[in-house]
């Protein structure tokens, strides 16, 4: 059975995000082979109603963004779609910099972000995992955030390339500064 079909069946059955690491283990495949299968699945789905959301660590099956108005018609409860100014900039930082620690988020924003991070965690827009160094947590985006943005991956975000470039330029500048002042 081709891997892309196995994965599609699993995602459908579970109807929840699945960790790429788990899939590699379950199917005993390399990251590269998994990626090939995911790309195949993603392309095959394009002709239908479903899409594959992919973050750095997880994947999930969802409906296509074009179907949103039709699904909303049959949903009873209205969901809150406001993320607020602080929430938006915190999400942006995590989107472009994940995995990132709270201390780093705080430093970029210039304020303590515990409250807003907790809020985003509760809403399932970000998730935390134990830091590799074992000191505190790092934060990353969830498939649920991408689903709310209507994109299958961060690369599909409007302006993703522009922002990434701007940030890269910033990193280059900063390195130059560090070198001259060092």
């Amino acid at each position: 059975m081709p891997l892309d079909i196995l994965i599609e069946g699993l995602l459908f059955y579970k109807s929840a995000p699945q960790k790429k690491a788990t899939l590699r283990k379950v199917y005993s495949v390399s990251s590269e082979d998994l990626q090939v299968a995911l790309d195949m699945l993603s392309i095959r789905l394009q002709s239908g109603a479903l899409r594959l959301i992919e973050t750095d660590t997880e994947i999930q099956l969802v409906t296509s963004p074009e179907l949103a108005p039709f699904i909303e018609d049959i949903r009873k409860n209205e969901i809150k779609n406001d993320i607020g100014k602080a929430g938006a900039e915190t999400l942006a930082i995590i989107l472009y910099r994940a995995p990132i620690t709270r201390v780093e988020v705080d430093r970029i924003r210039g304020v303590n972000s515990s409250f807003i991070l907790r809020n985003l965690l509760i809403r399932g827009l970000i998730e935390r995992s134990q830091n590799k160094q074992g000191s505190g947590y790092t934060f990353s985006v969830t498939p649920n955030l991408l689903a709310h943005l209507g994109v299958s991956s961060t690369r599909e975000l409007t302006d993703f390339a522009r922002v990434t470039d701007a940030l890269e330029q910033f990193v280059v500048d900063q390195e130059a500064v560090t070198e001259t002042t060092a």
């Binding site: 959301i53 969802v62 963004p65 074009e66 949103a68 699904i71 938006a88 472009y96 689903a147």
Partner: protein, 249 residues
């Protein structure tokens, strides 16, 4: 001038115009003037930044400490731009450079956040609804014992977020704007070998001190002090006469 008053007087506008962080306030001041981020623009917005922080302090708004810290850096930038003789330590120079970089970086993320806000929730990609199993098979595991449940509950209680630090305590920790300005004034006095005693306000209310300090900086800018100081070693008096001719260096 105030964060509140130049917007709508409605109660909710107070909430929406409160700045959560110092970078957010600073970037708004720079952008309001359509300036690029550099030491010149930062020096230019210093007065207004300090005025706003001073108001926050009066209202005992939370998190003012973070704003004051940044005010110190801004004052250094402004003082240096007006008094090139003011010697900054390596550390201070690094702090100033760092502030510019941080502000530029913050601007990028804030803009990206605006894009996310515009896109968020517009075309949601829906995961399937969860259908609860009607007759779930009972599958307990090792966690399903009273002891394990107690241990898990203790862990939950331990991880509850601590109560927010009460504003009272925070005020104590805050280095006030006045203290900060006084210490910077001392430094400038030291370097200029003079005193600002004539400028000292009779009422030591912090607002007056702040205004006074900014006024001194402006006076210094006019050149009198600087020129004389460069020429002689004696104590120098600041010309306070309204009609004194400014001499630009």
């Amino acid at each position: 001038m105030s964060v509140v008053s130049h917007h709508s007087p409605l109660a909710f506008s107070f909430k929406t115009n409160v700045f959560e962080g110092p970078l957010e306030l600073l970037i708004e001041l720079v952008e309001k003037r359509k300036l690029l981020i550099n030491d010149i623009s930062l020096a230019e917005v210093t007065d207004e930044y300090i005025r706003q922080v001073s108001e926050m302090q009066e209202k005992s708004l939370p998190h003012t400490a973070q704003f004051v810290q940044l005010a110190a850096t801004l004052l250094l930038i402004k003082s240096k731009s007006l008094l090139p003789v003011l010697e900054l330590t390596k550390e201070e120079e690094a702090t100033i450079e760092d502030l510019e970089e941080r502000l530029k970086q913050y601007q990028i993320y804030r803009d990206a956040g605006m894009i996310l806000t515009a896109q968020f929730g517009r075309q949601i990609m829906y995961a399937p609804r969860f259908i609860a199993p009607k007759d779930a098979v009972f599958v307990p595991d090792d966690y399903c014992t009273l002891n394990a449940m107690r241990a898990a509950m203790n862990s939950v209680l331990q991880n509850l977020p601590r109560k927010e630090v009460k504003p009272k305590v925070q005020v104590k920790q805050t280095i006030s704007l006045e203290e900060m300005m006084l210490s910077l004034r001392k430094r400038i006095e030291g370097q200029l070998k003079t005193t600002f005693s004539q400028m000292r306000s009779e009422a030591p209310e912090h607002k007056t001190i702040i205004v006074g300090f900014l006024a001194i900086l402006e006076l210094v800018k006019q050149g009198n002090v600087l020129v004389t100081q460069l020429g002689r070693f004696d104590d120098i008096e600041i010309e306070l006469e309204q009609g004194s001719t400014p001499r630009y260096y």
